[in-house]
């Protein structure tokens, strides 16, 4: 009996020795937002598999897009699983519930998606890194694109919740023209007939909308059927690979802004798109690219430092010494990306709807909150 106990103890020791780094991923795998979390997870797993490292142990949990569940999962991961690094959260309201507490307990958090302004400005933290974008970035790029396209009278709309307000603020920060109208819709709204009628009557020369997920699908289908032909521009969230097929022809020709696109012509991106498609049988979305980049950032830092040496590990992360699928990538002083954001256009390739880059919307763009961030 004693011997048996000894062996078990030894085995336990051996297995902890093998898994040197524990990573906790809390992401949305069920409910309406599941497509986003699944893409982030799959991109992350692909990068881990390609690195060939077997000393990274990944714990994946589903937050069901509910802040209370995300908080419970985070407590469990930090206190009983004792993870070194956390990642995965898609939605900003969940990020705000989990991240401040986690980073204060010494866990390093790498955000593959959510980038609420609070965490980029005053609430920035040395343990928090954002590998995707600050929430306003793609909207700012849409505003910049509207200027270059010569739009001077935009009608803008977004859902009435914090990220929606940030979206319109972001657009207006860069856009120089006048506003034909500004509407906040209901979160989760499915019918946009009333808004489309107002757009028709407004005399606008362009429409900017931020309606993530199913809201965007509904809006685009109804807009295309309404006979209004004012050009539309928006962030990539309503035009990612996962939902374009559901929108269909209604999205053709729409300009959207993204920090990533499958046709960014660099070897690492071509290899990513090809291997993702081979592994999962579908084209990657920007969320998948963000998951992939997050894992590669983590791996690049692990090659230089151990998470147990927090200062050295953070320094290694700050260097961002990895090949990003989006090309140039570096961190600003608030540990958010400084990156180029492209304007893309929805096209049809065979029978698949996808995006093509038509130009640069913002070059080497940093977020507007970095100046408010005091790290120490």
């Amino acid at each position: 009996m004693k011997k048996l106990l000894m062996t078990t103890a030894l085995l336990a020791l051996a297995s902890t020795a093998q898994a040197e780094v524990k990573v906790g991923m809390i992401t949305t795998l069920s409910g309406g937002g599941a497509g986003l979390g699944i893409d982030v997870r799959d991109g992350f797993l692909l990068a881990l598999a390609q690195s060939g490292r077997d000393d990274i142990e990944l714990v994946v949990e589903d937050d069901q897009q509910k802040p209370d569940i995300a908080v419970q999962l985070a407590d469990k991961m930090i206190q009983s699983d004792r993870v070194d690094v956390m990642t995965g959260i898609i939605f900003s309201n969940l990020a705000m519930a989990v991240i401040p507490a986690a980073v204060n307990q010494g866990v390093v958090y790498l955000s593959p998606n959510a980038g609420p302004s609070q965490l980029a400005g005053r609430g920035c933290h040395p343990n928090y890194f954002n590998v995707a974008w600050q929430n306003d970035n793609l909207h700012e790029a849409a505003g910049a694109y509207a200027n270059t396209a010569g739009y001077a009278n935009s009608f803008i709309l977004a859902p009435n919740y914090p990220a929606g307000q940030d979206a319109l603020t972001g657009y207006k920060r860069m856009y120089e023209g006048a506003l034909a109208g500004e509407i906040y819709t209901q979160l989760g709204q499915t019918d946009y007939a009333a808004e489309i009628a107002q757009i028709r009557a407004s005399g606008a020369d362009s429409v900017f909308f931020f309606l993530p997920g199913g809201m965007g699908i509904s809006f685009l289908k109804q807009y295309a059927d309404s006979g209004v032909d004012i050009p539309v521009v928006g962030p990539a969230f309503s035009f990612d690979q996962g939902i374009l097929q559901a929108v269909g022809e209604a999205a053709l020709g729409v300009v959207n802004t993204s920090q990533w696109s499958k046709d960014i012509d660099i070897p690492v991106n071509a290899a990513f798109v090809e291997s993702f498609q081979a592994e999962y049988g579908r084209l990657p979305s920007l969320y998948a690219s963000q998951g992939f980049d997050t894992a590669n950032l983590l791996i690049s830092a692990l090659e230089k430092a151990d998470p147990s040496d927090n200062a050295a590990f953070r320094a290694a992360l700050r260097e961002a010494d990895f090949d990003s699928t989006r090309g140039e990538f570096r961190f600003g002083p608030n540990q958010h990306p400084i990156q180029t954001i492209y304007a893309r256009e929805v096209i049809r390739e065979g029978d698949v709807f996808t995006n093509r880059i038509i130009g640069v919307a913002l070059e080497d763009h940093a977020d507007a909150y970095a100046a408010e961030c005091q790290m120490d």
């Binding site: 009435n160 500004e182 209901q186 499915t190 007939a193 059927d225 309404s226 996962g242 097929q245 269909g248």
Partner: protein
């Protein structure tokens, strides 16, 4: 604010109202006759939309897709009634809510298992797409006009079924006194299954019709379910006529509120504040309407009993 815009918004309100009626009719029948709170009604709406998308994808025909939606939702309804609901008629409302809430989760994850996590594609058929010009120069999507027509046709058929047929007499009798019609020799459990299937088919039809202009995705039924409950409370629980009036009221309040409340506040507030106050109030408008109705008519507009 031009007259054209107002007429267009009234049409939009009517259209969302008649679609809401298809959902609310089934819900109110099931509650009125069986005394059952069916939270899974939204899942049947989703089943209809997914079945329509699958059939349309396979055959390319929109009419077949509608038929597929009707059949799939009715079959799902019958299965749910026979396997689960039948055991709950005698149970109290809390047990029913718990069981039908579990059904929502089962339907959602089951649909995800079969169709995956990404929204499906379902589009308006060519012969109904694009706008038409109405008298007065109003441009309005043909498909939305068709939805209004389809909704009204279903409402008429349902009225004829309930007021003019033998089944309708049994349904009305069931609403008034369940024990008595069972004692009179009506096969009550068959009647229940039939009503459940009818309610499910209407929800499925609504899901398919609306799915063509919205996103066909897991969880699409729950927001509609909440509005459908508001509708039947306003109209009076158990009353089909009440559901019709309630649905039109809710549809019009929602659509017109979201347009005119912000415009109204712009008269005396600055645009940004007017927008946020107006939109917030528009979101609440339907619930304010419900509270007002309940204050003045606690049983709803057409409700016979509380």
């Amino acid at each position: 604010m031009s007259t054209i815009l107002i007429i267009e918004q009234v049409l939009n309100g009517l259209q969302s109202g008649v679609m809401l009626f298809l959902m609310a009719a089934g819900l109110t029948l099931i509650f009125g006759v069986m005394g059952l709170i069916n939270l899974a009604h939204g899942s049947l709406y989703m089943v209809g939309a997914f079945a329509a998308a699958a059939v349309a994808g396979a055959t390319g025909s929109f009419l077949l897709a509608l038929l597929g939606a009707l059949v799939a939702a009715a079959v799902a309804g019958v299965l749910v009634e026979m396997l689960v609901i039948r055991r709950l008629y005698a149970a109290d409302h809390l047990d029913q809510v718990l069981a039908t809430f579990a059904l929502i989760l089962i339907f959602s994850e089951g649909t995800r298992l079969i169709f995956g996590s990404f929204p499906l594609y379902l589009d308006i058929p060519d012969w109904l797409s694009g706008p038409v010009t109405l008298p007065g120069g109003i441009q309005y999507p043909l498909y939305r006009l068709a939805l209004i027509g389809a909704g009204l046709a279903v409402a008429l058929t349902l009225w004829a079924l309930i007021e003019r047929t033998r089944i309708g007499i049994q349904i009305r009798a069931g609403e008034n006194d369940r024990e008595m019609i069972a004692a009179l020799g009506v096969d009550i459990s068959r009647l229940y299954t039939l009503i459940f299937a009818l309610g499910a088919a209407l929800a499925g039809l609504a899901g398919a019709l609306v799915g063509a202009i919205q996103s066909v995705q897991v969880g699409m039924g729950e927001p509609v379910l909440i509005l459908a409950f508001v509708t039947i409370v306003i109209g009076g629980i158990g009353s089909i006529k009440g559901a019709f009036v309630g649905a039109l009221l809710v549809g019009l309040t929602q659509t017109l509120g979201s347009v005119f409340l912000p415009a109204f506040f712009r008269l005396f507030l600055d645009p940004a504040t007017a927008m946020s106050v107006g939109s917030s109030l528009a979101n609440m408008a339907v619930y304010i309407l419900m509270s007002l109705v309940l204050i003045f008519r606690p049983t709803g507009l057409m409700g016979a009993r509380a």
